[in-house]
């Protein structure tokens, strides 16, 4: 079974401080991991995926298969980073059925 855990529901950080959102997953095979973001009054959108290995809006995430983690990091938080962040997993390539974590509410304090 696929399961995604995001332990912290709410994270408040000061502007300029580092941000780290934890994501752990449970899946026996080789998963595909994603981070989705939902800004206030906007739709859910893809932030980044582990396959692309790129930095989006200053965010990076590294898949650690040993620790079954895909933590999201940004060295210097900006006010516009305030949003809900969801970690998601696709375990079965080809069917694209995403399993989501419960999400993290990030509040960046000016």
């Amino acid at each position: 079974a696929q399961r995604v855990t995001q332990p912290e529901k709410l994270l408040s950080v000061f502007k300029g401080a580092p941000v780290e959102l934890k994501c752990n997953y449970s899946y026996s095979g080789s998963p595909e991991l994603f981070w989705y973001v939902q800004y206030s009054r906007q739709r859910l959108q893809l932030l980044l995926r582990h396959i692309s290995r790129e930095s989006i809006k200053g965010f990076t995430a590294d898949l650690n298969k040993g620790e079954t983690s895909f933590h999201l990091k940004k060295p210097f938080a900006q006010e516009e980073d305030s949003a809900m962040y969801y970690c998601a997993l696709n375990g079965c390539r080809g069917n694209n059925r995403l399993a989501f974590g419960k999400g993290n509410q990030v509040v960046v304090i000016p």
Partner: protein, 114 residues
Amino acid sequence: SAVISQKPSRDICQRGTSLTIQCQVDSQVTMMFWYRQQPGQSLTLIATANQGSEATYESGFVIDKFPISRPNLTFSTLTVSNMSPEDSSIYLCSVMDWDAETQYFGPGTRLLVL
């Protein structure tokens, strides 16, 4: 990226009634999905909408409660039948972009059942 619209954006319904939610995409897509996000919860996949055949439902969801149609590659509907307050949720349509291997989400339909 695909542009997705949903109708209605929100509704308040009485117990025992049904609501049909529409999802329209501005381009042909192979895969369309319906998710539910209950208050304080994460997104849960209800079903995959298959064009020309019956939808594929996830565990815990059945066709009688959530009938789905997908008459073509740009449109799908989800009906929430015989509603109860437990069906109060945000219902989201998503589509698969095969070029980018990315799922795009619609704006969601916020449903409140009284």
